[in-house]
């Protein structure tokens, strides 16, 4: 598989945005790869990503409940990708702010699924929201609201 830096160029030049391809290439490395993020589904302005429960992602060894860090990462990626899913094109952006409410502890052993949507798009900013759940979206484990800011491509990667 190509290094993500090389693969990125093809996403920048690509006319459309395919969330499944992006997840397969860009989320296979680095932190997303470590967490084991995978593509689930997407629509016009939303996307679903997931990862499996794992012992080394636990935050409370007594109960086996996942740490919230990986859930932040998943919601960060899913909300970010929801923007490109909506615009139909990859463009460099950074997280300006992200708020997450932990509505209940995730069940040990269960995969976490994040469904995120871009609900408003401005020229330089994208407004996003997302829900993380462990099987039933009506009984979420976390709720996210955030803003992404478009940036110059040169500053985006090193």
């Amino acid at each position: 598989m190509d290094a993500p830096e090389n693969k990125l160029d093809s996403f920048i030049q690509s006319a459309g945005f395919n969330p499944r391809d992006w997840t397969a290439h860009m989320n296979a490395h680095g932190h997303s790869g470590f967490i084991g993020m995978r593509y689930n589904d997407h629509g016009d302005n939303w996307i679903e990503l997931a990862f499996d429960w794992r012992e080394d992602l636990v935050g409370d060894p007594e109960t086996g409940v996942l740490a919230s860090g990986p859930i932040i990462s998943l919601l960060d990626n899913a909300t970010s990708m929801s923007v490109w899913t909506r615009t139909g094109r990859f463009a460099p952006q950074v997280t300006l702010d992200l708020r997450i409410d932990y509505t209940r502890a995730a069940l040990p052993g269960k995969p976490i699924i994040a469904r995120a949507e871009c609900y408003q798009l401005r020229r330089s900013m994208a407004f996003v929201r997302g829900i993380a759940h462990d099987g039933d979206i009506a009984d979420p484990v976390a709720h996210a609201a955030g803003i992404f800011m478009m940036v110059d491509g040169q500053e985006w990667v090193k």
């Binding site: 993500p4 830096e5 990125l8 490395h29 680095g30 932190h31 997303s32 790869g33 470590f34 967490i35 012992e55 080394d56 992602l57 636990v58 935050g59 409370d60 060894p61 996942l66 740490a67 919230s68 860090g69 990986p70 932040i72 990462s73 998943l74 919601l75 960060d76 990626n77 950074v94 997280t95 300006l96 702010d97 992200l98 708020r99 997450i100 409410d101 932990y102 502890a105 500053e155 985006w156 990667v157 090193k158």
Partner: protein, 133 residues
């Protein structure tokens, strides 16, 4: 509190307790491929995870000072990402704004080589409850 007291996720990411400053533990993490988001930068979720760990640690230390042994559950976190996290060591430290009987409010900052140029800043609310016997 020492680094072995950190949860599995924090240890898997390579977080450590680098010391105590004015009563609040300093959490440290070195850059690694498993911490990388967009190429060459820390993942925002990792920065969030480090901020949270520093928040937990600050509150744990404060409750210990007050002689309280309570269960701590995060209610929410709101993070402002101020700068890209460069591929070098990252620190975070929390300040307990208020620790009441049921809720605690903590502010946390993360920085790299220059402490006056924070990478991210956040607030967290925690729910406090008696430990189950």
């Amino acid at each position: 509190m020492n680094s072995t007291a950190l949860p599995p996720y924090a240890r898997a990411m390579g977080m450590e307790i680098a010391g105590i400053e004015d009563g609040s533990p300093l959490i440290m993490i070195d850059f690694s491929s498993r911490a990388m988001g967009r190429p060459g930068f820390f993942h925002g979720g990792v920065i969030g995870g480090v901020l949270e760990m520093a928040g937990f640690a600050a509150l744990g230390a404060e409750l210990e000072r007050q002689g309280l042994d309570l269960r701590i559950k995060p209610i929410n976190i709101s993070t402002e990402y101020l700068r890209g996290g460069l591929p070098e060591r990252l620190y975070a430290r929390g300040e307990v704004v208020r620790a009441g009987r049921r809720v605690a409010n903590v502010r946390i900052e993360a920085w790299q080589s220059d402490r006056d140029r924070p990478v991210a800043s956040c607030w967290m609310n925690f729910q406090l409850s008696p430990k189950k016997a």
